[in-house]
């Protein structure tokens, strides 16, 4: 244990926790982070091995309910979409695809523009300097100048990654259609950068990058934070955040690998455990003073869960595209139909990302292509699919709904005996209409590109990568959990910096925006440190 209490205790060593840890360690804070998972070496990742696709379906699955590793906690799912995450140093950045789009300006003004949900207390332009800083820290490869965004003043740290044969085919189709497309922004090196190697297009990003080319925070942030004095404790499962009679957070009680209970004191506590883990911990931290859970006077802790309903539209092409290769973080994107057009029968929109299509085991098993892949025609099925596909992944904006929520299970616990989270989630009619519209347009895209067949997965179950909204920020303590600087309204020395803080979900992959908001919150902690209330 530390001889002195931490200035700041962070729970979770993923994207947002790492950003905050590095910033505060550089500013001279005594930083301690508790992470229930462990470090992983590049050699752990199965992408270079023959059994890659086997491991991706178990040990390196994106769902903790499938992995069932000792560091995972079970999630009780009352939902058509399974929440996905990874517990380890780097968190879900170890297994995320690496796509790095920013939320768009309209995403922060949903109520004002479209009369639904709520406006954020911050906006795109306020975040822009933080986007630039996190782009450099994570290492982003991009073609600057995307007209789907306001003009940038900073260039991208690295040139864009290749868009591949499939990307080029779709880009030409969108040129004919007059539709937007752009090479994807990816937090994946296209050149040597910051001591890490460039991408080799192996396409196994979602089971860890063997090259270290993808920006996972175990590589991009933690070594630097530790060099600056941050202390990262792994195998540390936090049971609750403790508070004193004054209502201030005093630290965290946690369970070590041997099952022993420990306490880590701190002046400030920062939760960075994702939008399921964080509300779970707040609800677990109920006390006499906070009977409904910590920081929950609004009653919104755990509510408004958003996960981006996801559809997949796959085009099959006669010519070989070698589409098992390429960065999984996306080849190109389209934001042609991102903004509201009420004539479509719904509000808001969706982002499309074009991704590689996977290897032979994934191709050969029953899937959206149907159950009948067996018999003599099995071989024709594999020949027409393997390396001949292009996939539009469609991320629909998920509007907040208080009935979509995280609660504590009364029957299921993790291996430490701590109640598991229950996820109650259903897709709204607006999102259903949105996905239907986008599936039709994406099908047109594929057909224009020359696809001889288009296969659709209208709502993919294992697609809950983007966990958002369960401790929203806002100006009013009665209608929000956090203030605009990510500090809880109720507990002045408790911050939440993960995707829980999102007011609305946007329709894009959120990690870039989560990182920028976390960095902004860390700056605020630094700048307000002399006014920060701390326990005696």
């Amino acid at each position: 244990m530390a001889s002195e209490p931490a200035d700041v205790l962070i729970v979770g060593a993923g994207a947002s926790g790492a950003v905050v840890a590095l910033r505060l360690a550089e500013a001279g804070f005594r930083v301690v982070c508790l992470e229930q998972g462990d470090w992983h070496d590049l050699a752990d990742y199965p992408g270079v091995r023959l059994d890659w696709e086997l491991q991706q379906r178990k040990t390196w699955a994106t769902s903790p309910n499938i992995r069932q590793l000792p560091e995972d906690y079970p999630i009780v799912e009352d939902s058509p979409v399974s929440p996905l995450m990874f517990n380890g140093v780097g968190g879900s950045t170890l297994i995320f695809a690496g796509a790095w789009p920013r939320a768009l300006p309209s995403d922060f003004r949903v109520r004002s523009l479209d009369g639904v949900a709520d406006d954020w207390p911050i906006d795109y332009f306020e975040l822009l300097p933080y986007f630039y800083r996190t782009d450099r820290a994570f290492g982003v490869s991009a073609l600057p100048g995307d007209p789907a965004y306001p003009p940038d003043t900073d260039e991208a740290p690295m040139p864009p990654l290749p868009i591949g044969s499939a990307g080029l085919k779709i880009a030409r189709a969108h040129t004919r259609l007059g539709w937007h497309w752009w090479p994807e922004f990816n937090a994946i090196n296209s050149t040597p950068y910051d001591g890490r190697r460039p991408c080799v297009q192996r396409s196994t990003c979602q089971s860890g990058c063997n090259e270290g080319a993808k920006a996972s925070t175990d590589l991009t942030h933690w070594p630097k934070a530790i060099a600056k004095g941050a202390r990262l404790i792994t195998g540390a499962r936090v049971r609750r955040i403790e508070t004193n009679d004054a209502g201030l957070a005093t630290g965290a009680t946690w369970i070590d690998r041997e099952g022993a209970e420990r306490f880590e004191p701190a002046s400030v506590v920062v939760l960075a455990a994702n939008a399921i883990g964080t509300p779970r911990l707040l609800l677990l931290s109920a006390s006499g003073r906070y009977p409904d859970g910590l920081a929950n006077s609004s009653g919104l802790v755990g509510r408004r869960l958003m996960m981006h309903p996801f559809a997949n539209v796959a085009g099959l092409f006669e010519e070989p595209l070698m589409s098992w290769q390429g960065q999984f973080g996306d080849l190109i994107e389209s934001l042609e139909f991102y903004e509201t057009d009420e004539k479509r029968g719904f509000v808001r929109g969706a982002r499309w990302g074009l991704a590689p299509t996977g290897g032979p085991i994934n191709t050969a098993l029953p899937s959206r292509a149907g159950e009948q892949v067996w018999g003599p025609d099995h071989h024709l099925h594999v020949r027409t699919h393997l390396g001949h596909g292009a996939n539009w992944g469609i991320f629909a904006e998920d509007l907040p709904d208080e009935t979509n929520r995280v609660t504590l299970s009364t029957t299921v616990t993790d291996s430490s005996g701590i109640p598991a989270p229950e996820v109650h989630y259903s897709m709204a009619e607006n999102a259903r209409r949105m996905l239907d519209f986008h599936i039709e347009r994406a099908t047109e895209s594929m057909l224009e590109a020359g696809a001889f067949k288009v296969e659709v997965d209208r709502l993919m179950r294992y697609s809950g990568w983007h966990l958002l909204g369960t401790a929203r920020m806002g100006d009013d303590p009665e209608t929000s959990v956090l203030d605009p600087w990510n500090r809880t309204h109720d507990v002045p020395n408790l911050y939440i910096v993960d995707g829980s803080c999102f007011v609305t979900s946007s329709g894009v992959n959120p990690t870039s925006t989560i990182a920028a908001i976390a960095l902004r919150a860390a700056d605020h902690i630094v700048e307000s440190r002399f006014n920060q209330q701390v326990p005696a």
């Binding site: 070496d41 059994d51 040990t59 450099r136 690295m158 290749p162 080799v200 290769q325 290897g359």
Partner: protein, 191 residues
């Protein structure tokens, strides 16, 4: 900084001889099912032929969690009729059927000859080439820029109008060096 060890869940080695858990009858059922699902056709061998002990051992050593469901799929009570067995599993235990499918498919498509026949060399390491991408020369980016800004101005609620927005990529500065190759820190903190 690795947590892996031979006994770690991250290890790819399972039991020393997982095939020992399958008796001759079970192996015969597995071969019959494999041949039904993936028969010899279109110049490809049948899975019954490909799924040698080596291939099944490879799969089960990589995924020891599949041993028990495989044994369940091959249990004698389900009879000798392959289709009736598959139908019964599909109705009563789709998870076990899924494990059976995975063992057969994984054994088949990790076989070197099969991979050669389907033209799949595995996930290759391909160097990313430097230089301006071809789609710039082809004018595909210019076509996007020519249509102007796509984003919605949150002040007006309409598609943004940006004075002087580049309408071709040449109007932008193309930098192949694109800044520093050092990620640096997260702060620029002056305190």
């Amino acid at each position: 900084m690795t947590a892996s060890s031979a006994s770690s869940p991250m290890s790819t080695t399972g039991g020393s001889e997982p095939l020992a858990t399958l008796d001759a009858g079970s192996r015969a059922h597995l071969a019959a099912i494999a041949g039904r699902l993936i028969p010899e056709a279109h110049g490809m061998p049948s899975a019954a032929e490909v799924l040698t002990d080596d291939r099944v051992r490879f799969v089960l050593q990589a995924r020891p969690d599949l041993v028990e469901p495989l044994r369940g799929a091959l249990r004698v009570e389900l009879g000798d009729d392959v289709q009736a067995r598959l139908d019964a599993l599909g109705r009563g235990d789709p998870a076990i059927l899924g494990a059976l499918h995975l063992v057969i498919v994984a054994g088949y498509y990790t076989d070197r000859r099969v991979r050669e026949l389907i033209g799949y060399p595995g996930q290759l390491a391909i160097e990313v080439k430097s230089g301006a991408p071809s789609y710039l020369d082809e004018g595909l980016i210019d076509a996007v820029l020519a249509r102007g800004p796509v984003w919605r101005d949150p002040v007006t609620g309409r598609r943004a109008e940006v004075a002087g927005a580049p309408r071709t990529y040449k109007e932008r500065v193309w930098s192949t060096t694109a800044g520093s190759t050092q990620g640096g820190n997260d702060g620029g903190d002056s305190t």
